[in-house]
């Protein structure tokens, strides 16, 4: 192996990008022009663009896996107890005999699928794509940097993620199957699940979930340190803070959230792992009875402690999911409405305020734990406060559209869909912020609908928009417009058919973790719009499967366009930010000439110019300055 992988990266703080290890000696001082082999160039690369693409492709594969788990679950919810046709009899060969005997899903397997759907979607899908993939690929280009500040740490971050992901997937194949305690892994249930006779101490679903998580947290820590340092240190000359593209700001705040919110969860995970392997009882009270026998533990632990530590991550995590999408949406919105992003400064300050407030709202996930009214009142107040900057951002986006000459290309379609979809998700969260209303809605399908509106047609639409938008930069080719639209319209319709009825189901009181889809619940028999709460499962499930099919045009379009897409120039969208001054695809080191920024990020449709966009690296000439400031003087 080569120099960068044969010694640990940890002492490498303060190391230059290219190694000076023994490997390079034969190349002498010419190592900068040294041709890298295939493995070094595409697999164990330290180039931020390659790492970004690695993250992106892995993340999208995980997104599809997580979605597939849900497609299997949707069968059980729509047709509980019936054998899954076609693939049902094959699944036991993959997931073990106890998963789906005769194609019928067992409750344990249903729980595994639910827990792993959440875990995979959030931690292996959306975060790696939204933060790590787009952040890695786009941020250094947008700030005019040759790479990240710590390229080897960057590679280590990706490989920690890959190991964590592999451990998570492996957990499906150990006795007992993958973790079953929900993506939140609430204690004491998760402390005692998959434990006892027949289970290995470490090689069981829940323990592997915990160990996998430690790798994922390490990965995001390394990534976050790298992003923040890069944005502080490697901005191009003239690129002051208020000239940064909004996307860079959103990634900057996201990195801080990951940096500071994940470690308390890591502490909690270490404690749960101790509970499971070293017989401690951090989260176990005394006197518990499991399977009819008293549990031999010291007690003295607190199940509530887990919830506090989990949600201390969990809530900032929500903003980790949405802020990068805000950033992508802002870029594409300005570009395709051909006018500056409205209220740039308010957007930046809103993102900063969100970042700060997201650390003091976590207990709104815990209204039902009986924390007491004082604590509840505090967290209710902060929760409502945090909606203010979110509304500012959404309003600024809507106003940005006003008076623009909008181009409805594929990225813009996804972005225009994002705005109302995120709006629905955000506004339906307000009843959950009030603890009195939440007492009823807690853990129902209403909650599911609320956060999926934010993450699925919200964040994931933002991510699709970003993929279509930056694809030409990564490959030098466009993705197909037509197939993009074939991808977009069914996805938009299916998203709404899936999640809109869930609000109704939730208001009937249908619980989010029911294995039989609410078949046995009296109130699920109430009719809304001609269908009972239980019967609504059927159209929802069909919409989910159709949406699965609707992703096929995207997958084909993506891979086909890498080789066969329409060739385009370096700036096909006629955008203004610095990444479009680099060649497509950018070489190692990114820019042919080191860029210098002379103006703000969104100088679209400047009066008196031939082109309707002015790039950040275009010098401001004196005549322009006088034209800008002295309009009235021209009247004389």
């Amino acid at each position: 192996m080569d120099a960068s992988t044969s010694h640990p990266p940890s002492p490498g703080f303060g190391e230059t990008g290219e190694t000076h290890g023994p490997h390079h000696h034969e190349a002498g001082h010419d190592h900068e022009h040294h041709e890298l082999g295939f493995w070094r160039k595409y697999i164990f690369s330290t180039d931020h663009k390659v790492i970004g693409i690695q993250y992106g492709i892995c993340g999208m594969i995980f997104l599809f896996m997580g979605f597939s788990l849900m497609m299997i679950m949707r069968w059980q919810l729509a047709y509980p107890g019936q054998a899954l046709p076609l693939i049902g009899k094959w699944l036991p060969y993959i997931f073990g005999a106890n998963s789906m005997p005769d194609g019928k899903m067992t409750p344990e397997f249903y729980n595994s699928l639910g827990a792993m759907h959440g875990t995979i979607m959030i931690f292996l899908g959306v975060v790696p794509v939204a933060f790590a993939a787009f952040g890695n690929f786009v941020v250094p280009l947008q700030i005019g940097a040759p790479d990240m500040t710590f390229p080897k740490v960057n590679a280590a971050s990706f490989w920690a993620f890959a190991v964590g992901g592999a451990i998570m997937l492996t957990s499906f194949f150990v006795p007992g199957g993958a973790a079953k305690g929900g993506w939140t892994s609430y204690t004491p249930l998760s402390d005692i699940a998959d434990k006892g006779p027949g289970f290995h101490t470490v090689l069981n679903g829940q323990s592997l979930w915990l160990i996998g998580f430690i790798f994922l947290i390490t990965s995001s820590l390394l990534g976050a340190v790298n992003f923040i340092t890069t944005i502080i240190q490697l901005r191009a000359k003239g690129l002051t803070w208020m000239r940064l593209p909004f996307f860079v700001w959103s990634q900057f705040v996201t990195a801080f959230l990951l940096l500071l919110a994940f470690p308390p969860l890591e502490a909690a995970i270490i404690m749960q792992l101790m509970d499971r392997t070293a017989a401690t009882s951090f989260f176990l009270p005394a006197g518990m009875i499991v399977n009819g026998a008293p549990l031999h533990v010291s007690g003295g632990g607190s199940p509530l402690l887990w919830q506090h530590l989990f949600w201390f991550l969990g809530h900032p995590e929500v903003y980790v999911l949405i802020l990068p999408a805000f950033g992508i949406v802002g870029e594409i919105l300005a570009n395709n409405s051909r006018k500056p992003l409205w209220g740039y400064k308010s957007l930046v300050f809103s993102v900063l305020v969100i970042g700060f407030l997201s650390f003091v709202v976590w207990a709104h996930h815990m209204w039902l734990t009986g924390m007491g009214s004082t604590v509840s009142a505090f967290f209710q107040t902060t929760t409502l406060l945090i909606s203010i900057p979110s509304v500012i951002i959404l309003s600024a986006f809507f106003i940005s559209l006003w008076g623009g000459s909008i181009r409805f290309n594929v990225p813009m379609l996804f972005v225009t869909a994002f705005l109302p979809m995120f709006g629905i998700g955000g506004l339906t969260g307000i009843p959950l912020a009030f603890n009195s209303a939440d007492l009823y809605l807690h853990d129902t399908y209403y909650v599911i609908a609320h956060f999926h509106y934010i993450v699925a047609p919200g964040t994931i639409f933002g991510l699709f928009a970003g993929v279509y938008y930056w694809f030409p930069k990564a490959t030098g080719r466009m993705m197909s417009e037509f197939w993009g639209k074939v991808h977009f319209w069914p996805s938009l319709i299916c998203m709404n058919v899936i999640f809109l009825p869930m609000f109704l189901q939730g208001m009937l009181g249908m619980h989010r973790r029911w294995y039989d889809g609410g078949q046995g619940w009296t109130l699920a028999g109430e009719h809304i719009w001609g269908l009972s709460g239980f019967q609504w499962n059927t159209p929802i499930s069909w919409a989910a499967w159709i949406m699965g099919l609707a992703q096929i045009p995207f997958i084909i379009n993506f891979f086909w366009s890498i080789k066969h897409g329409k060739k385009v120039n370096d700036n096909p969208w006629e955008a203004t930010t610095l990444e479009w001054t680099a060649p497509s695809p950018p070489p190692h080191g990114n820019f042919v000439t080191t860029p210098v920024a002379y103006r703000g990020p969104y100088e679209y449709s400047l009066p008196g110019r031939e082109k309707d966009f002015t790039m950040q690296n275009e010098p401001v000439d004196p005549s322009e300055r006088s034209r800008r400031m002295a309009e009235p003087a021209l009247a004389h």
């Binding site: 002492p11 502490a267 009882s281 010291s298 632990g301 530590l309």
Partner: protein, 291 residues
């Protein structure tokens, strides 16, 4: 391709890259240990009267380790200063001293402090039987003085086979002084120098025992936090030692010869990490040993 500001500072921020990087990393570490310390506070406040043990750790050993870490924090600064003055030999010796301090700390922890805990037992007496063991618990006097009750009898387990053999009806415990002479007021507060277990053996009927556990992580929330936090801290010390070792070995002399400032910067950031590890211990020591 060269990444800018790896060694020299960026004019407008006045910093080189790794210095920002390490401070961010330390911020993250603060949150990690902060989470664990919060858990400690949470569990301690939640504990029932008598449930949170006191005075079970060896304070002189802890004090010794505290001193060792403080000394090593000084030597690492001296090592960095020596590099800044381009005195590689002095650097080499100071770095060696730092590494040795780290190793001594780990040795004391892993060979002197942890192992005895696993052969020391605590026997938790059922509430209804506590009156019977009043000669070992001394709860009458404690109640008068408004102290928390004792619910546990500690010492060396003389008959280990009793743990597994159900035919043996009693545990034989060579009592710790606190249970051998429970009414002695000197035991109301932990002793600085720990007293060894006495010759006095108590026979405790298994029927009266709620549970018996050695002083491992399974003993109580207290020992659970103790082993978790000191274990994680020990892992950090080990990581620091390995990083320092890398900077002390000849491979780093090449870095020094190419650009001395580069090695100085490396020592500076890893030194910052080392100070942080030291600082964590400054919290661990009073929380577990003294309070």
């Amino acid at each position: 391709m060269e990444i800018p500001y790896t060694i020299s500072t960026r004019p407008d921020t006045g910093l080189w890259n790794a210095k920002i990087g390490i401070w961010l990393f330390l911020a993250s570490e603060v949150m990690l240990f902060g989470g664990l310390f919060s858990a400690y506070v949470f569990l301690r406040l939640d504990a029932q009267p008598g449930e949170w043990p006191h005075g079970l750790l060896n304070v002189p050993i802890g004090t010794f380790n505290t001193a060792i870490l403080i000394v090593s924090s000084v030597t690492v600064v001296l090592a960095w200063a020596a590099l800044k003055m381009r005195r590689y030999n002095a650097y080499w010796w100071y770095m060696l001293a730092t590494i040795l301090c780290g190793i001594i700390f780990l040795f004391v922890k892993l060979y002197l402090e942890w192992p005895p805990k696993f052969s020391h037992y605590g026997v938790f007496i059922k509430p209804e039987a506590r009156e019977k063991y009043e000669p070992y618990l001394g709860n009458h006097r404690r109640e008068e003085k408004g102290l928390e009750p004792r619910i546990e009898i500690t010492g060396h387990l003389e008959n280990h086979e009793a743990l597994t053999d159900s035919n043996i009806k009693e545990y034989e415990i060579a009592l710790d002084p606190v249970n051998a002479d429970p009414d002695n007021p000197s035991h109301d507060r932990p002793h600085f120098i720990p007293l060894p277990a006495t010759e006095k053996v108590a026979k405790i009927d298994k029927q009266d025992v709620e549970r018996i556990d050695s002083f491992g992580p399974w003993h109580s929330a207290y020992f659970a936090s103790y082993f978790t936090i000191t274990g994680l801290h020990g892992a950090h010390v080990l990581a620091g030692v390995l990083v320092f070792l890398y900077m002390w070995l000849p491979v780093s002399k090449k870095v020094y010869q190419r650009n001395p400032e580069h090695l100085a910067n490396r020592v500076e950031v890893s030194g910052l990490f080392w100070h942080f590890v030291d600082l964590i211990w400054i919290f661990v020591f009073p929380l577990f040993y003294l309070l």
